[in-house]
Symmetry: C2
Subunit: 308 residues, 2 copies
């Protein structure tokens, strides 16, 4: 595939792979008999852009462990895309007036500003639930064994739930009102709020490919480290204001009143920590020599190169 | 089991079966490492009572098709309970200020009144996601085949999603603002908002038991008919104010400004329609002669007896 032919140009490879996901997302909700306004609201946020990092990670780990010629990528595209539905739902609910009260998301009106609050709540609920439909459609004849699909879906539910992403957002709300958040608290909150879904993207890809326990563990290590690197880089970009590569408008007020890595550690130490986490991600893939592993290593480095 | 020994006293049998579900629900979130306040909020609504109708339906259909001595009931208790998490999440989100703006639920402050709006949104998100964890824990060695669990979970996701329950709530919001809702629109909205989850409770029980396609179809027919009977009875009780048996405080303002069956058809015709739908549910189980089928028939009749 052309997408994997140039792993050295990671930005281009990432864009090519994201475009494959985009093509699937384009009409993935069309056959579901969803009331018109609700569907418009779900699609408004789902098609608002983004790097599609989570689906790309899932597909890449599936390719790494199943091999390029397996045809697995096509069969698990609904599963990979489901991660983007979950990510999108979390952004819609995070933006609500009762949460971060953000009027803008990626330079456009946030969902509740474009539609209304009730519709935004339901669009989020709908995207989360439809994600589980998509994940579970991957099983069946000629597709992926039901046992693998069910295990991978269970892992995603754990990561997205109250002990993962939802719990992380709850802590984020608590910490916003609280002075003196510690580094340990910040790290724990981000591990749940953004880390868990990024990590499970890697893990689920490995599980769907039928990877061994050792390989799944390495996918988890990579995901944890990349998730941390990603979060620290995101915090740095919010402070330095150089948000062009993140696709955010400059002056985004998303972190208003929130504790960040640079606030606790300073910019220089934050940059060092981000590089260290990226290096840990690269190290976790040490046993693998194929082109797919090269892409994942380049991706880990790319995430922190943006902030150096 | 004592719960099935007295099918003629359906009220007592229903309470006994609900108590089994209650016992499982009591600590089903305890091992999930959920931030304290979020956990309190999720448990506040989950343990606020209710008939546990959906889990009882699932367990009953599983027993009907797997047989009493199969031990399936114990193994699928997490799946059955998950339906109550989904039902509870939908009530929390429906009560929010941006939706029905209800201060009370079952005579107690609604979730956002007891906690706050952000916590209530996240408690709903958490309950929905944890429900999928619970459903998918039923597979594995000595439990239920993964293929059945995955199929049943997929059916629940479809029923709860934007083409089902979430879509029904979106239509309910639209219709509240709109004059002249037709009977067809009311029926379609309720089929999505409450009917889909009740129906899939019956279907999922049958699927988990490994029922034949014909048996699954009969479970679906029963669920559709019982769901309609239940909704019409609920509307009648809201109008007649005799809400004691439903566990609602009299004068509940849940339907303020909403179209109901009695408003469109009158009380007498609504009662007739409820009885007809209960009779259809009873008829759908005609081929089955066991005690479990007797319980399900008695349950269908009990739902409308309350309003006659």
């Amino acid at each position: 595939m052309s997408a994997t032919a140039a792993p050295v140009n990671v930005k281009e490879a990432l864009a090519l792979r994201a475009a494959e996901v985009e093509a699937y997302l384009a009409d993935c909700l069309q056959d579901r008999d969803i009331p018109e306004r609700l569907l418009s609201s779900m699609e408004y946020s789902l098609h608002a852009g983004g790097k599609r990092l989570r689906p790309v990670l899932l597909l890449s780990f599936a390719r790494l462990f199943a091999g390029k010629g397996s045809g697995l990528g096509r069969r698990i595209m609904p599963f990979a895309s489901a991660l983007e539905l979950i990510h999108t739902y979390s952004l819609i609910h995070d933006d609500l007036p009762a949460m971060d009260n953000d009027d803008l998301r990626r330079g456009k009106p946030s969902n509740h500003k474009q539609f209304d609050e009730a519709t935004a709540i339901l669009a989020g609920d709908g995207l989360l639930t439809e994600a589980f439909c998509l994940m579970l459609t991957c099983m069946g004849e000629g597709a992926v064994p039901a046992e693998r699909v069910a295990r991978a879906t269970h892992a995603v539910a754990e990561a997205a739930g109250a002990g993962g992403m939802v719990g992380g957002q709850a802590l984020d709300m608590e910490y916003t009102a609280k002075p003196g958040v510690s580094l340990e608290e910040l790290r724990g909150m981000h591990a749940m709020k953004t880390g868990a879904l990024i990590t499970v993207s890697c893990v689920a890809g490995a599980v769907l490919a039928g990877a061994s326990l050792v390989d799944v563990r390495r996918a988890r290590e990579y995901g944890c480290a990349v998730g941390q690197a990603f979060q620290i880089a995101d915090d740095i970009l919010d402070v330095t204001g150089d948000t062009a590569t993140l696709g955010k408008p400059a002056g985004s007020d998303e972190r208003q009143g929130k504790t960040t890595y640079p606030a606790l550690l300073g910019l220089s130490e934050s940059r060092r920590l981000a590089r260290e986490r990226a290096a840990a991600a690269v190290a976790s893939l040490e046993p693998y020599t194929c082109q797919e592993a090269d892409f994942l290593r380049a991706l880990a480095r790319y995430i922190v190169e943006r902030v150096n």
